[in-house]
Amino acid sequence: MSATAPTTTDLRADARIPLRGHLRHTGALVRRNLLWIRQDPESMFDAVLFPIVFTLLFVYVFGGSIGQSLGGGQEAYVQYIVPGLMAMMGMNMAQGVGTGFNQDFNTGVMDRFRSLPIGRGSVLFAKISVEMMRMLIATAILMVVGVLVGFDITDWPGLFAAVGLSAVFGSALMWIFLTLGVVMKNAQSVQAMGFLVLMPLQFGSSIFAPTRSMPGWLESFTEYNPLSALADAARGLMVGGPVAHDLWMTLAWSVGITAVMAPVAIHKFRTKS
C-alpha cells in the first residue's frame, strides 16, 4: 500500500482520531444503515426468506432421495442440510457488504464521507455490523424452520460455534466482495458476479448433498472446496462427527483469503478516485 505514494501518505501523517471518535462515527453510520432497513423493509426479505425457502425446498424436494443415500430418509437429510445452510449464511453477509459499498460509491455519498474528518474504516465497520445483525436474524430463522421440519439441536455450544465459524469465513469472503464492490460499476454487477462465483462453489461442495456419488473429478474439486470444509465443520459441530480437520481447513482458508484479499481491497478502496 505504501508503495503507491501520494494517495495513501495522507492517511498516516495527520492528526489521529481518538477511539471514542471512531466509535461515535461508526455508531452514527450503523444508525444510518439501520434506517435504510426501516425505510426499505423489503431489503430484509432475503435475510428472512432465504432460510425459509431453502430449507423447505431442499428438505421436501430432495430430502427423500438424498436421505436414502445417507442411510435414512427425509429426517436424515434434515440433519444434513440445516448445518449446510448455516454455512451459507456468512456468504450472504459478505455479499451484502460488497453491494452496499458499491451503492455508496455510485451515489456520491462516499465522496461526502471521504471529505469528512472520519476514518474510512468507520464506514466499513458500520456496514459489517449491520450485515452481521442480518446474518444472525437469518440464522435464527433458519434454526426455527429447521426445528419445525425436524432438526434436532443436540449440541448448543456446537451450534454457536458453527454460527461463529460461518461468520469468520464470511468475513474473509467479505474482502473479495469489497474488492468487487469498489471495482465494479454497479450493485447489480456485484451481485451477478458474486452469484457466478458462488453458485458453482456452493453446488460443487458438500453443502447440499454428500459428495460420494459425484464423478471423480468433481469429488476431488469438492474436497478442496473451502465451502465443503465449512459445511462439514458446521455439521460436525452441530450434529456430531469428526470436526478437527474441517475446522482447521476452514480457518486456514479464512486466513489465506484474508491475507491475500484484504490488502487488495484496502488498496482499491484507498486509491479509488
Binding site: L29, R31, R32, L35, R112, R114, S115
Partner: protein
C-alpha cells in the same frame, strides 16, 4: 495553490494550474466539460491526490494535513451527494455526528439548517422523494453543518431548471454574505457573473484567463443586444439607424432575418442606452429587447481563438436576461 498537476495515465486532467482565492470571496472556475474543474475540486477536498504541485486551503496542505482540512471545508458535488434513502433530517444529523457534534448539538444543527433552507416540512421524508432543487438545498445544508470556512460548489446548478437555479443562487449569495469563501465551478458565464467576484477560465487542464469578472467580461466583448421590431418590415431601417450610431463592439451589428432581429454587441451601459435612444428617436415599435451574455463558446472564442474543447454537453448556447419588452 501552485502548479497543480493531475495525470491519469497519459491524460493530463490538470496541467499546472495556479489559483489564488482571497478569503471571503467567490472564485468562479469556468470551463467546459473535461476542462479539469471537477478534478480540481476533488484534489482541493482531499478526495484525490495531485500528481505534482501543492495546494494550501485555509492554511492546511491538502496532501499532508487532510484531516485538519476536512474540518474546515464543505463540499457540494456535481451530483447531489445526499443519502437518498434517508430522510432530510437524518442526512444532516448523520453528518453532524460524523463531525463530532454531540447528539444534542447535531439535532439542533439539523433543525436549524432545515429551517434555513426551507426544508422543515420535508424533514421526515426520504431525500429520494425530493425535487431537484430541494435535493440541492439539502446538499448545501449538509455542506454547511460544520460551519466551513471554505465551500466548494461543483457545478451547483447543472441540470436544474431556471427557477430552481435562481433559488440555489440566492442561497449561495446568502452564504457568501456570511463570509464563507467559495470556490465555484461552472459551465455558465451567467452563473459566474451572478455569484463570482473573480473568475478563472480553464480549458484542457490549463488556466487560459483569470481576473476580475468585469475585466474578463470586457475582454470577451460584453453583451449582445437582440432587438426585435414589432413589424418585420422595420428590420432594415432599424439596422440602418443602429449602424449610424457607429457602435463597434467585438463584432459588428448583424441582422438575423430569420428571427426578425438585429444583433448589436455593446460593451457598456452607455452604449446600451444610446441604442435604446436611437430606436425611440426613430419611433420604431419593438416587440422585444434582450441582452445576451456571451456563451461559454463565445468566451472561449474570444479568449483563445478556438471553440471550447469539449462542447458535448448541452451548455445553453446563450443565456439571456430580459431587460424590457
Amino acid at each position: 495553490m501552485r502548479g497543480l498537476v493531475k495525470h491519469y495515465g497519459a491524460t493530463k486532467a490538470l496541467d499546472g494550474v495556479d489559483l489564488d482565492v482571497r478569503e471571503g470571496t467567490v472564485m468562479g472556475v469556468l470551463g467546459p466539460n473535461g476542462a479539469g474543474k471537477t478534478t480540481l475540486v476533488r484534489i482541493l477536498s482531499t478526495l484525490l491526490a495531485p500528481t505534482a504541485g501543492h495546494a494550501t486551503v485555509a492554511g492546511y496542505d491538502v496532501v499532508r494535513q487532510p484531516r485538519q482540512l476536512r474540518r474546515v471545508i464543505g463540499l457540494t458535488g456535481q451530483y447531489a451527494s445526499v443519502d437518498e434513502k434517508l430522510p432530510g433530517w437524518e442526512n444532516l444529523y448523520l453528518i453532524g455526528r460524523l463531525l463530532d457534534l454531540s447528539r444534542k448539538e447535531a439535532r439542533a444543527r439539523a433543525d436549524e439548517l432545515l429551517e434555513r433552507f426551507s426544508l422543515t416540512e420535508a424533514a421526515r421524508r426520504p431525500a429520494a422523494t425530493y425535487s431537484g432543487g430541494m435535493r440541492r438545498r439539502l446538499d448545501l445544508a449538509a455542506s454547511m453543518i460544520g460551519h466551513p470556512a471554505v465551500l466548494y460548489l461543483d457545478e451547483p446548478t447543472t441540470g436544474l431548471d431556471p427557477r430552481t437555479r435562481n433559488e440555489v443562487w440566492e442561497e449561495v449569495k446568502r452564504l457568501v454574505g456570511e463570509g464563507v469563501t467559495v470556490l465555484l465551478t461552472t459551465q455558465y458565464m451567467e452563473e459566474a457573473e451572478q455569484l463570482a467576484s473573480e473568475l478563472t477560465v480553464v480549458d484542457r487542464g490549463k488556466v487560459i484567463a483569470s481576473g476580475g469578472i468585469e475585466e474578463l467580461k470586457a475582454k470577451v466583448g460584453g453583451r449582445t443586444l437582440r432587438i426585435r421590431p414589432a413589424d418585420p418590415g422595420q428590420l432594415r431601417p432599424l439596422a440602418g439607424a443602429l449602424d449610424e450610431l457607429g457602435i463597434t463592439g467585438l463584432a459588428t451589428t448583424t441582422v438575423d432575418t430569420e428571427r426578425g432581429a438585429v444583433l448589436v454587441p455593446v460593451l457598456s451601459d452607455e452604449q446600451l442606452t444610446a441604442v435604446v435612444g436611437a430606436v425611440t428617436a426613430r419611433g420604431i415599435t419593438l416587440s422585444s429587447l434582450t441582452t445576451e451574455l456571451p456563451s461559454l463558446d463565445e468566451v472561449f472564442l474570444s479568449l483563445t481563438g478556438h471553440r471550447a474543447s469539449a462542447p458535448r454537453d448541452a451548455a445553453p448556447a446563450e443565456t439571456r436576461e430580459e431587460v424590457a419588452v
